[in-house]
């Protein structure tokens, strides 16, 4: 019975065109390279001991740095408020935003065990490309991640990523906009700085 049903549904799946082997191009390859490097560092026994945690963290962040376009992300997260900022303010904001996103990324990488990653394909549109990835966690959950990348000097750099449809940059944009509109840009910077020092303290406690 089960076998018949299985056969029936696998043919159904075939007809639905679900089984489309992902052809991989440049954006996906580059993303995979970075992810593989990070996974290699994570599973490297040399960094397993707690006193090596800081070294490992720095190594991972340096690897990730190559793949993320922090400036573009920061610009997009401020949206229409970006143009009203002076060059110095922009530089300060990029730095604060990068710090924040790096902490987010490290939480995701260190906090959950990624059992398996499946690359589900990419879509290229001129200098823009999306790469879809499915992450299997150790707790039997699957998480759909979509990376948005943009080509700069032969490198496809990530400027946004969506986790289960939730866009990280647009989520921050809504938060930032809310604070700027209700109080001021200075208030936003103040809150970002408080956040950074708070997290720094949490880090030490760990």
């Amino acid at each position: 019975m089960v076998r018949i049903l299985r056969l029936f549904f696998s043919t159904l799946l075939l007809f639905c065109g679900i089984v489309s082997p992902a052809f991989s191009g440049e954006p996906q390859d580059q993303l995979r390279q970075t992810t593989d490097k990070v996974l290699a560092i994570l599973s490297d026994p040399a960094f397993k001991s707690p006193d090596k945690a800081k070294v490992r963290r720095e190594l991972i962040l340096r690897t990730v740095d190559e793949r993320f376009d922090w400036e573009e992300m920061a610009r997009r997260s401020l949206g229409r408020h970006w143009l009203q900022r002076s060059p110095e303010e922009k530089q300060e904001f990029i730095r604060l935003f990068k710090d924040l996103l790096e902490r987010v990324y490290m939480d995701k990488v260190e906090g959950y065990s990624w059992n398996k990653i499946i690359y589900e394909g990419e879509q290229i549109d001129g200098n823009y490309a999306t790469v879809r990835v499915k992450v299997f966690t150790s707790k039997d959950q699957t998480i759909q991640v979509e990376y948005r990348t943009r080509k700069r000097e032969n490198q496809w750099l990530i400027y946004d990523f969506l986790v289960e449809g939730v866009g990280v940059v647009s989520n921050y944009r809504t938060q930032f906009n809310d604070i700027i509109v209700k109080s001021s840009y200075q208030e936003l910077i103040k809150r970002l700085k408080t956040k950074a020092t708070q997290d720094g303290m949490d880090e030490k406690k760990k």
Binding site: D107, G165, T174, K182
Partner: protein
């Protein structure tokens, strides 16, 4: 038995009473405004917001504007109840840290993870009718087939749903559908955001969806007493939380305004699920 059913219906009606109450209050809060630009700001002085937005837009150079089109259009869920929602958000936050998390941590300490994953599987299997019926309502026949196979297989070989051989052996994942999504597929928008005490993030549409799902949930029928039913639901919640300790903490650490972040994440995730089906 009849009396008990009545009290169950009474329980279901509470959200409806509250909703009608809110619907009466809404026009006074400026929700009736259909312009998406101003309803986005809800009750917060739309005129000032409009002024700021329009002046910024006018000063944008043309090239920038073209580039801006690549970004997601600001698509947000109206939040006319924000003051009340924020109070409930605060309440839910405290509920998590003071009650749910300590309970779940103790439970996690006693019960091994495999067993807790089994309990999660059991509850997931039990709510198959919700997913199956909603797949049908959305004409998602692949989903109907998958849910049927999963239920038959997991209820028998999967030992009443504690194991998930359909996923582990046949690679058939569950199709996560609910009535709120069905209403969305039928073209009904979320209307506005609601943060319910205890239940958490929802929208007007999804609240009706939740009521509909309760009618399809076997727990509603199998457990004839309301306290028992609530206890089972609470247990389900504690079990689920025990598998997710740390996620909410991370989320709060990573956000500048957790309330706004949660609202937008809820909305985007719902839109994504409705589109995905």
């Amino acid at each position: 038995m009849k009396r008990k059913n009545n009290s169950m219906t009474g329980l279901l009606l509470i959200p409806c009473y509250l909703l009608t109450l809110w619907l009466w209050v809404l026009p006074g809060l400026g929700f009736a405004n259909s312009d998406p630009e101003s309803s986005r700001e809800g009750s917060y002085s739309p005129s000032i917001y409009h002024f700021v937005f329009l002046s910024a837009q006018n000063s944008m150079p043309a090239v920038q504007q073209e580039d801006e089109d690549r970004e997601d259009k600001p698509d947000r869920i109206p939040d006319p109840l924000e003051p009340a929602n924020r109070i409930f958000f605060h309440f839910n936050d405290k509920l998590y840290f003071w009650a749910l998390k300590p309970l779940a941590s103790g439970y996690k300490w006693v019960v091994p993870e495999d067993l807790r994953l089994g309990v999660r599987n059991f509850f997931t299997n039990l709510t198959t009718p919700i997913r199956l019926v909603n797949c049908l309502l959305q004409a998602n026949f692949k989903g109907v087939g998958n849910e049927t196979v999963r239920f038959l297989l997991n209820s028998t070989l999967g030992l009443a749903g504690f194991l998930d051989p359909a996923r582990t052996e046949l690679k058939i994942e569950k199709t996560d559908e609910d009535f709120g999504q069905t209403l969305g597929v039928w073209g009904i928008g979320p209307f506005f955001y609601i943060e319910w005490p205890i239940l958490g993030s929802s929208s007007l549409r999804d609240t009706f969806g939740y009521a509909g799902d309760l009618l399809l949930d076997p727990k509603t029928y199998l457990l004839q007493s309301v306290p028992l039913s609530l206890a089972v639901r609470a247990y389900d919640q504690i079990n689920e939380t025990s598998l997710r300790i740390g996620e909410y903490e991370d989320f709060k650490r990573n956000t500048i305004d957790p309330y706004v972040a949660k609202r937008e994440a809820y909305y985007q995730n719902r839109q994504y699920k409705i589109k995905k089906r």
